[in-house]
């Protein structure tokens, strides 16, 4: 379902990027990183209007003809970006939300690993496996 899953650090450095087989990798990296501007915009807009929902899930960031880009940001300023095929209309907003929550859980587990140095790229095999299961939809 998803074609790209990425985890981006506090200072916008890539921590982890997974791209589906046979996709244009460079283009998807580019999409994930251009999404950061939209995330920043959304986050700072929420700060100005009180009473607004302050959910971690940011919803659909933008859609192109081929892809849809969804965003999520943690309290610790880690951004998650998931890109899906625009052709895939069966995917509901709620499912995307669940995917982000699972991704967040997995990220938390990585950070709590004493051998992981915060801010470095994620090389955990467990995390790889988790992302694999996530994108396979189970």
């Amino acid at each position: 379902m998803a074609v790209c899953v990425s985890v981006i650090g506090k200072e916008n450095s890539p921590l982890y990027i997974w791209v589906g087989n046979g996709k244009e990798e460079l283009h998807l990296h580019y999409l994930a990183h251009t999404a950061l501007d939209v995330i920043q915009e959304k986050v700072s807009a929420v700060n100005k209007t009180p009473g607004d929902t302050r959910e971690l899930y940011l919803g659909l960031l933008y859609a192109s003809e081929e892809y849809k880009v969804f965003g999520y940001t943690t309290n610790t300023r880690i951004k998650f970006v998931i890109i899906t095929d625009a052709a895939n209309t069966t995917l509901r907003d709620n499912e995307i939300r669940m995917m982000f929550r699972r991704l967040h859980n997995m990220y938390t587990n990585v950070v709590c690993n004493p051998f992981y140095v915060p801010g470095e790229q994620i090389t955990s095999r467990e995390f790889d496996k988790g992302v694999g299961a996530l994108v396979a939809g189970n």
Binding site: V46, R54, E55, T74, N75, T76, H104, P118
Partner: protein, 156 residues
């Protein structure tokens, strides 16, 4: 209850290890070592604890989180008083701090009290660092078992 006691004991052991165990460290080196332990703990802990909460609006919101949720999770009580000058200085008063509550309240152990606050200073600093607030945290004890933590936010 059991896991609360475990935390108390491991903290006591950490303090006594750093000050008396293995390598003989100078007082300030030992304090900074404990502080660093706290920092690493806080940095990771907050990642897990803030998972379910909404996004924080501003710095004061984050401080309230520290005083309420974090303190309850770690020390099973809330901070008794939070003061700020709205220019980046926050003072957290705890009238009965967990790590000091086992000590006699006289003047006798007052000089040793800072050793038991170093970890917590680091913990708070680590939490705030991960939430995007760079700061210096210092602690002060004038009358056991009360203490206060001063958070000085570094801007720019």
């Amino acid at each position: 209850m059991a896991e609360e006691a475990m935390f108390d004991f491991i903290h006591m052991e950490a303090v006594s290890y750093v000050f008396q165990g293995g390598e003989k460290l100078a007082e300030d080196e030992a304090v900074s070592k404990l502080e660093h332990m706290g920092f690493a703990t806080g940095y990771r802990l907050v990642e897990r604890l803030t998972r379910e909460s909404g996004r924080y609006k501003d710095e004061l919101d984050i401080m309230k989180y520290i005083c309420k949720d974090l303190w309850v999770t770690v020390y099973k009580k809330q901070i008794d008083n939070l003061r700020t000058n709205h220019q980046g200085v926050y003072v957290l008063h705890d009238n009965r701090f967990r790590f000091l509550s086992h000590m006699a309240t006289g003047k006798q152990y007052l000089q040793y009290a800072p050793r038991y606050l170093a970890f917590t200073c680091g913990l708070v600093r680590g939490c705030l660092a991960n939430l995007g607030v760079t700061c210096v945290v210092t602690a002060e004890v004038t009358q056991l078992p009360a203490c206060k933590f001063q958070i000085q936010v570094q801007r720019g």
